[in-house]
Amino acid sequence: MHNVLVLFRREFASYFATPLALVFIVIFLVLAGAFTFFFGNFYERGQADLASFFEFHPWLYLFLIPALSMRLWAEERKSGTIELLMTLPVTLWQAVIGKYLAAWAFTGVALLLTFPIWITVNYLGDPDNGAILAAYIGSFLMAGGFLAIGACLSATTRNQVIAFIVTVVVCFGFLLSGFAFVQNFFLSWAPQAVVDAIASFSFRTHFVSISKGVIDLRDLLYFATLIGVWLSANAIVLEMKKAD
């Protein structure tokens, strides 16, 4: 636990040691705002809720989270620091979890900085703040899912651009399977059970269900499993291919 904390702190601080943190947070906030007001018709809907804000989070994450996760392990490989890290007295799991949690906490910071929209909607009307909190939790869990995929794929290469592109593609798959048009495509020939299974793989299905204000155990379990599986894969990839 001590080692996880030490690794976490180093990794977390490293975001703020470079312009990365600033650029990421500013772009995240600008895009989140732009989507909410221009595409989400925040005002025109005339409802005191943040549905138009959260609706676009999956799409924001699709491009921004891989940009964050691509460096996690690819950079360690490129710079050779993976050799330093793996010869320090830390276990592989401590390294995987410490680095992952740092990236996740960083997205949490970016998400928390969207609080003005919450103040705005409370100023304009009388929203269900419980539902908003649930949606924030759902969004944070979804970010964790994207990040776990990105962390694993980042460990497969020393090239950050490859890590980015592959992560976007895989995350796109996890996102798309929750949309009606994808399900309709399968519905025409596959049994309902298969279609449901495909839908249940999607971030979006579970995010939407949480953001309605109901934190269902199944949704939590989904994200916990997803993160656990991808981080295990991350550790296995590192174990199999430490050098190069």
């Binding site: 080692n3 010869t87 320090l88």
Partner: protein
């Protein structure tokens, strides 16, 4: 104590390290010599537990590196090839990070940081970001990181690469000063360095251990009496090595 027995590493059809056995006692400074691609770095990566051997075992301070990696790693300091470090960190925060991972108590941490900063003359660059430092300073930061916990065993992969002659001299002095009760393994292809700091030399080529003796004895075995000539002769395979080959099997 480092005990290496029948260590091999194969990548597919390529054998990088081929059945190497030797052991190193406290007080020995072992120079690990060989042409590029001989398997020096691969052997060092296996000693430090970064790579897993295909076969054979490595024991450091009585701990099997594969079975008890944390205990083995705790008693080793390692400078990897190229002295990698986290470029975006300052020297101070990087060394502090390593000291924390090494589990040093706050008092010990302060004392050890002061010690290595003094030894490697890093006082002037403590608040500087590592990636802005010169090659020589980066190498010294890597050395400082390896020495932080005052380890019993030091594994240094080309410790003086990229240093100017004065800095080389400093590092050699540093190694000599520490040599008494520690085990130090350094890889190099600078043969004068072996004369300067090592009391034992191992030559490997194509993954095989070819010679193992004091540098003086190795040099004396060729007519010219020069380690260079012995090195060329044995690694190019021009003639069978006229030395007693030591194999600690």
């Amino acid at each position: 104590m480092i005990e290496i027995s029948h260590l091999s590493k194969r990548y597919g059809a390529l054998t990088a390290v081929d059945d190497i056995s030797f052991s190193v006692e406290p007080g020995q400074v072992l120079g690990f010599l060989g042409p590029n691609g001989a398997g020096k770095s691969t052997t060092m990566k296996m000693i430090t537990g970064f790579l897993s051997p295909t076969s054979g075992t490595v024991r450091v301070c009585g701990h099997d590196v594969e079975a008890e990696p944390l205990a083995a790693k705790a008693c080793m300091g390692y400078l990897p090839e190229g002295a990698p470090s986290y470029g975006e960190m300052t020297v101070r925060s990087f060394l502090d990070f390593v000291a924390r991972v090494r589990g040093l108590s706050p008092d010990k941490r302060r004392a050890r940081l002061d010690d290595v900063i003094g030894r490697l003359a890093l006082g002037g660059v403590l608040e500087q970001v590592i990636e802005t430092l010169s090659k020589g300073f980066k190498r010294r930061v890597g050395l400082a990181q390896a020495l932080l916990h005052d380890p019993q065993v030091l594994i240094l992969d080309e410790p003086t690469d990229g240093l100017d002659p004065n800095q080389k001299h400093e590092v050699r002095l540093l190694i000599n000063n520490m040599a008494k009760d520690k085990i130090i393994v350094i890889s190099t292809h600078i043969l004068e360095e072996v004369d300067a700091v090592c009391n034992r030399a191992i030559i490997i080529a194509n993954g095989r251990l070819l010679a193992d003796d004091t540098p003086q004895a190795l040099a004396a075995s060729v007519p010219s009496g020069k380690l260079d000539d012995f090195f060329r002769q044995i690694t190019l395979g021009a003639a069978p090595a006229p030395v007693r080959e030591v194999a600690n099997a």
